[in-house]
């Protein structure tokens, strides 16, 4: 799956220039002409990066950025700000809001590609036939921290994944390690002595084999200056201590563009089944949404015409569930699929209280879903 970039600018010409800059890369471009529209598109598409103009009518870039950073689902999306004003005061104001980079207009197209390439992996078109890594692949995660306890803590925190966590304590040992076993992702403590983290980062980015590895800075939550410096030099992201391991998994998944679709989508009995897990959260919903259109269109291309939305593991209906259900059913209607929803009596009852979902028809079991779709058990078994 290619990367998604959202360009937000009131100038149609600038949006054309930005889109054109990435024409040779496998990038899915989205556009918005002001901050209000930008927020809506960002919520819907969950882009890998946003290129955001500073001066716009209706809602300017600064306000949109503030709203992005206060939204838990959107705050981790890296932002490059575009501005026609290069004054020191303006640049400081932008930098304090946590943008990953900024560009002053006028700019050359090569420059925007280079700056974006520092943040997300840009693959040329036609080179994406290489099989995407999956979340359940045995990825190699390297942790560079002079405190062994931190390495152990991270290994323990990720032990519910098949990922292998290894640790080194210095810049030199880390480079030796990378030479022998190229890791899939690296976490570097910014408190390594003698600026070690930043030296190591520069060395990684200079190496042909290591320049594209996502590298995260490990930092205590309050070390704002170190975090700002890490963002400025181009670290893929920041992981703050105390470590939220669910967030780490999301960050690594996004940085490596790991395929997680298998967790939620299967094709069985000539149908596409989307099964929501019992630990359904807004983050998981976003993950499912990322794959939804591809999975459904791929199913249709394969000749399937039925969708089962399996909510049987869900105990209660909330706004996140409803939004996902609505998006799925809308897409299903667009592509003329017949659909059926499996869910508990409790969820069915809750959905009747909402205008948008009061007409949803739930069935209790998979067999009932087959019957609702006019598929006989025998035909399914065949």
């Amino acid at each position: 799956m290619g990367r998604k970039i959202l360009t937000v600018d009131d100038s149609k010409t600038i949006r054309m220039i930005v889109t054109r800059a990435f024409k040779d890369f496998d990038i899915d471009m989205h556009e918005a002409e002001n901050g209000v529209e930008g927020l809506a598109v960002a919520s819907r598409e969950n882009p890998d990066l946003i290129i955001l103009d500073y001066t716009m009518p209706i809602m300017d870039g600064f306000e949109m950025l503030t709203k992005l950073k206060s939204d838990p689902d959107l705050k981790s999306i890296p932002v490059i700000m575009l501005s026609a004003e290069a004054g020191r005061e303006n640049v400081m104001k932008i930098a304090k809001q946590g943008v990953r980079d900024y560009l002053i207009k006028p700019f050359k197209e090569d420059l925007i590609v280079e700056r974006v390439g520092r943040i997300i992996d840009l693959k040329p078109k036609g080179e994406t036939n290489e099989k995407a890594k999956r979340y359940d692949d045995p990825l190699k995660i390297l942790v560079v921290d002079d405190k062994p306890a931190i390495v152990d803590q991270i290994a323990a925190g990720l032990d519910d994944t098949p990922w292998k966590v290894e640790g080194t304590s210095s810049t030199g040992l880390a480079m030796d390690h990378c030479f022998k076993h190229i890791p899939d992702s690296i976490l570097i403590s910014v408190s390594l002595p003698e600026n070690g983290a930043f030296t190591l980062f520069q060395m990684l980015r200079a190496g042909n084999r290591t320049k594209s590895i996502p590298v995260f800075a490990l930092s205590v939550k309050t070390a704002a200056e170190e975090q700002a410096r890490a963002q400025q030099v181009g670290f893929t992201g920041i992981v703050t201590k105390p470590i939220d391991f669910e967030e780490v998994k999301v960050k690594i998944t996004r940085a490596l563009n790991l395929d997680t679709s298998y967790k939620y989508f299967t094709q069985k009995d000539g149908m596409l089944i989307m099964k929501l897990p019992s630990n359904f959260t807004p983050s998981i919903s976003n993950d499912i949404m990322l794959h939804l259109r591809n999975q459904v269109t791929s199913a249709v291309d394969s000749g399937l015409d039925k969708l089962i939305i399996d909510m049987s593991q869900i105990k209660t209906a909330d706004i996140t569930l409803i939004k996902l259900g609505l998006s799925s059913l809308q897409l299903s209607n667009e592509l003329a699929l017949k659909s059926s929803i499996i869910g508990s009596a409790a969820v069915s009852h809750e959905c009747k209280n909402y205008e948008e979902t009061k007409d949803w028809r739930f069935v209790a079991t998979y067999a009932d879903a087959l019957a609702a779709l006019g598929v006989s058990q025998t035909a399914a078994a065949a």
């Binding site: 001066t55 009518p57 026609a84 020191r88 700019f107």
Partner: protein, 159 residues
């Protein structure tokens, strides 16, 4: 400060033409108005703060379309809508004024800019109110004249 206007505006126009358009542009010794029936487009961006003013950048339609084609990566005959030309001239004016205003700000005169606006017409002129200082600069790109006009009012408590 007012004396720096020519140097800063010239630098801004050159920077934008070189970086975004790849078109040659030269400042002329003197501004000589050209009477023509060809329609023109003027982009305007204001700024307000320690320095208050507005910059107009205007070009005949021929040059405006050539600038649009370069900026948008289109062929001249593909530009058949006013919208894209207006947008391009507005954005180029935004960049010129942004560059110009940034240098003024770095010299201690902080201000903010407005979003661009566009005026189209034939044989029009824009005149300042009496308290504004006006500077007009003429540039040449190929056979066409580009005019950049600055109207400035300096606030009493600025440098």
């Amino acid at each position: 400060m007012i004396d720096d206007v020519e140097e800063l505006l010239k630098a801004a126009v050159h920077e934008v033409f070189n970086t975004m358009l790849g078109l040659p542009i030269q400042m002329e010794e003197q501004y000589v108005p050209v009477q023509s029936d060809e329609p023109s487009i003027a982009g305007a961006v204001g700024f307000i703060g320690d320095l208050t003013g507005v910059v107009y950048v205007y070009a005949p339609l021929t040059l405006a379309k050539a600038m649009t084609a370069k900026l948008a990566g289109m062929e001249l005959d593909e530009i058949d809508e006013d919208e894209i030309t207006n947008d391009s001239i507005g954005e180029l004016t935004n960049m010129i004024v942004g560059h110009f205003k940034s240098r003024l700000s770095d010299r201690g005169n902080s201000c903010v800019t407005t979003i661009p606006s566009i005026v189209r017409g034939t044989n029009f002129c824009i005149e300042p109110i009496s308290t504004a200082v006006r500077r007009v600069f003429s540039f040449r790109s190929g056979d066409n004249q580009l005019v950049a006009e600055v109207m400035l009012k300096q606030e009493e408590n600025s440098n």
